[in-house]
């Protein structure tokens, strides 16, 4: 059985009249076990491969190889299926016309699936909404599967109105999780990130075909290590308090604020998906009515719950003090993640401005990103930024946009923008 623990990092002291409490809550999971093997229910994996006409011969070969590598990582007993997607979605494996559309993994089904994947051909357009919907239908056909995860590979822009895709995303949200990967440079980061964020997954670029199999293998291994099928972050706040935001800030920045569902009048639940043995950080900001100096109160109870069972709880406190030495400190974790969140925004806004031809704004935003990456010790962001801008002064954030930039580098910067580092050791 998995164990969860919670630790709270904050400066609980507020000045006279102070109202806003910030805290980083670290939730750590251990003993998670393996997906579908903990007795709480079966796990299901769906591999979605883009087989649109834009996938050239070598890309198609690499994608098939990657899908086969992923199939090899699926633990025996896990229900699985393979979808081939272009202008519509096709069930590539298992080859059934009715009844359960996912089969448990075994030596036999693994061999069948690998064979089925090898027969895929490319052609047609890219309508991702149909892929997402089919994945939902497949999961529905095996009700014993309670942990639902998909891997989606695409190489091109979606040929549907935004609204059509968004509606499909909404149908999938809260039902299954999906990690997304783009191959090549013809897909749109923003589009695929929308899917991944809503479906509690990751998004990344696979710059070269050769890296595809390794990436798929790794993604599937990670998914198989998630022995906790689903958990919620619960936040209790006192009567009259206002939640300013709830964000996951590590390993990536994901704003959860709008994804609250009410547990009761004072408690809201935020989705966190499945858990492996891992640690995640959440930034919680609460606004309270100020109390007299010397008073203490609880600003939030931050809990990790599986079903109705609370597995771990962290207390976020507020103590009003007139000692400015106490009240003016900013907790280092809070400061760090505040910077990392701004870094993600600066990168995304800078790249958007650049794409829109607003070089001045792009220069300012990416300059700020360089500065924040330095301040918060995010070396990965710094090295990715270096491929897009020439840095004159890292501390001051003075940069020039590079004359010619590899599209893949820009996309890599974009997809990695939400990745955070922990406090520098």
């Amino acid at each position: 059985m998995a164990d969860f623990s919670a630790a709270v990092y904050q400066n609980e002291f507020l000045p006279d009249g102070g109202t806003d409490v910030h805290a980083i809550v670290t939730i750590e999971c251990s003993g998670a076990g393996t997906a579908g093997q903990t007795g709480s229910g079966a796990a299901g994996e769906i591999i979605i491969i883009d087989t649109s006409g834009s996938m050239g011969q070598s890309a198609m070969a690499a994608a098939k190889h990657a899908a086969q590598a992923a199939v090899n990582e699926i633990v025996d007993g896990t229900y699985f299926a393979v979808i081939s997607g272009n202008g519509a979605a096709f069930l590539a494996y298992p080859l059934v016309n009715s009844g359960p559309a996912m089969v448990p993994m075994s030596d036999a089904t693994r061999a069948e699936a690998i064979d089925a994947i090898s027969r895929l051909r490319s052609g047609g357009g890219t309508e991702i909404s149909t892929w997402l919907d089919m994945a939902g239908v497949l999961f529905t056909s095996v009700p014993q599967v309670i942990q639902r995860h998909a891997i989606l590979l695409t190489d091109g822009e979606n040929n549907e109105p935004d609204q059509v895709l968004d509606e499909a995303i909404a149908r999938a949200t809260g039902y299954y999780q999906c990690d997304c990967r783009g191959v090549g440079v013809d897909w749109k980061v923003e589009e695929i990130r929308r899917i991944a964020q809503a479906l509690l997954g990751t998004v990344d670029i696979i710059p070269s075909e050769a890296q595809m199999a390794a990436e798929f293998e790794a993604m599937m291994q990670k998914s198989m290590a998630r022995g906790v099928a689903d958990a919620q972050l619960r936040v209790w706040t006192p009567q009259g308090a206002q939640i300013l935001f709830v964000r996951q800030v590590s390993p990536t920045v994901e704003d959860l604020t709008s994804r609250r569902t009410a547990v009761n009048d004072l408690t809201g639940a935020y989705p966190t998906g499945a858990w492996a043995d891992e640690s995640r950080d959440y930034h919680v900001a609460i606004r309270l009515a100020a109390k007299d100096v010397g008073q203490e109160q609880l600003a939030a109870r931050v809990q990790l719950a599986i079903g109705e069972e609370v597995k771990a709880q962290g207390l976020v406190k507020a103590k009003w003090s007139d000692d400015s030495e106490l009240t003016t400190r900013i907790d280092q974790q809070v400061a760090h993640y505040t910077g990392q969140t701004e870094l993600a925004e600066a990168i995304q806004e800078g790249l958007a401005a650049k794409a829109a031809g607003n070089e001045e704004l792009a220069t300012t935003k990416l300059g700020r990103a360089v500065q924040l990456a330095k301040e918060t010790g995010n070396d990965e962001a710094t090295s990715k930024l270096r491929k897009v801008v020439d840095i004159d002064d890292e501390d001051a954030g003075t940069v020039r946009l590079k004359k010619s930039v590899e599209k893949a580098d820009e996309m890599a910067l974009d997809t990695a923008s939400t990745k955070t580092t922990r406090v520098r050791k």
Binding site: A7, G294, R301, A312, R329, Q332, K425
Partner: protein
């Protein structure tokens, strides 16, 4: 009291356990897995909103921290004697203490105020108050009958009580504590129409008749008092910078623990009040306190003590507040003392804490 040290900074014990904290010294883990719940079972409802208090020690509705039994306690050993001891608003713990006893027509009020920049002063002050009360429980000696010998015998008892309090303070602390705990000490013993009293530090005993002028019976051992002796008006002296530095106290580094002793005859109905500076900071002159007794609108000591504490909190609650009251001269009509011996029975939810184990 001596000027307050800044509120104690949280102990950063997290550094051994979490490597992150080595580089984030202000980032303290406030809750760890396996931490004991902050309060025991049988919790009283939230004082703020009446909501249920959770195992974690905070209200499930408004989040207010439930006071520990040490933060706020009340005693009423007889219908005509009551006391309230409260953390106040600005301090993070209650270092005041009181101990009351009634035996027939006899009442004993003891108040101690822990010095706020010392270690464990909350434990020390409560231990001192209880130890001193035990010495003052038996009737005071009558000596050989002549006033001088009575005075000498009573002085000896009060000196013993102070010594017992001092011993109790010393016993709460290890030798190597850099800032050993200390506290003030006042005691008032009402026997018939005579009030015997003594004091060390700046807690006070007042006699406040229903009609006519009241008086401060004790003389503070404080810098303010030094100024007053030198001719500075009381209000000005008590507002001066060093006013709250005390010149005598109970505790390890005390120069002298012999209290100043006195006695006074009660001539009419009124109240005997023992209190800490958390109260008299906001009403030092007897007439100001008499006005608050009036404002309480009650003849019942527990209600009046509660009112006086609320008054001090409303005025800022800068320090811990202790109010102990005994009716003198005449019992309120509705109350007839029946029991011959009664000890400190408790009032309300907060029983007197024992030994200070429950603090913090």
């Amino acid at each position: 009291m001596t000027p307050d040290a800044p509120a104690a900074t949280p102990t950063l014990t997290a550094s051994e356990a979490n490597p992150l904290d080595e580089v984030s010294p202000i980032s303290a883990v406030t809750v760890r897995p396996g931490d004991r719940p902050a309060v025991e079972a049988d919790r009283a409802p939230c004082l703020q909103c009446g909501g249920v208090v959770d195992d974690d020690g905070y209200c499930t509705q408004c989040g207010t921290k439930a006071p520990s039994p040490r933060d706020h306690f009340e005693e009423q050993p007889a219908p005509w004697v009551a006391g309230v001891c409260d953390r106040g608003i600005r301090h993070t713990r209650n270092e005041d203490a009181m101990a009351l006893a009634v035996d027939g027509e006899r009442a004993v009020l003891v108040v101690c105020d822990g010095v706020s920049n010392c270690v464990d002063s909350d434990v020390a002050s409560l231990a001192a108050a209880k130890a001193a009360l035990d010495v003052l429980r038996p009737p005071l000696p009558k000596g050989l009958g002549v006033p001088e010998s009575v005075a000498a015998a009573v002085t000896k008892v009060f000196t013993d009580a102070a010594a017992a309090g001092n011993k109790a303070v010393l016993e709460t602390v290890h030798d190597d504590v850099p800032n050993p705990p200390s506290c003030t000490f006042v005691a008032a013993v009402l026997e018939g129409t005579t009030v015997h009293y003594c004091g060390i530090g700046d807690s006070r005993v007042y006699l406040l008749p229903d009609a006519g002028g009241g008086q401060i019976l004790t003389v503070d051992d404080s810098m303010a008092q030094v100024l007053i002796m030198g001719g500075t008006p009381r209000a000005e002296a008590e507002a001066s910078k060093q006013a709250h530095s005390i010149t005598k106290w109970l505790g390890k580094d005390s120069p002298d623990v012999v209290p100043r002793v006195g006695q006074v005859e009660v001539t009419g109905p009124g109240w005997l009040l023992a209190c800490s500076d958390g109260l008299w900071n906001y009403a030092s002159e007897p007439d100001a306190l008499q006005a608050q007794l009036q404002a309480a609108g009650s003849s019942e000591p527990h209600a009046i003590a509660t009112h006086l504490v609320a008054f001090a909190n409303k005025s800022g609650g800068q320090d811990n507040i202790t109010v102990a009251l005994a009716r003198v001269g005449q019992r309120p009509v509705e109350e007839v003392s029946t029991s011959s011996t009664s000890d400190s029975s408790t009032v309300g939810n907060n029983a007197a804490p024992d030994g200070g184990e429950s603090h913090g």
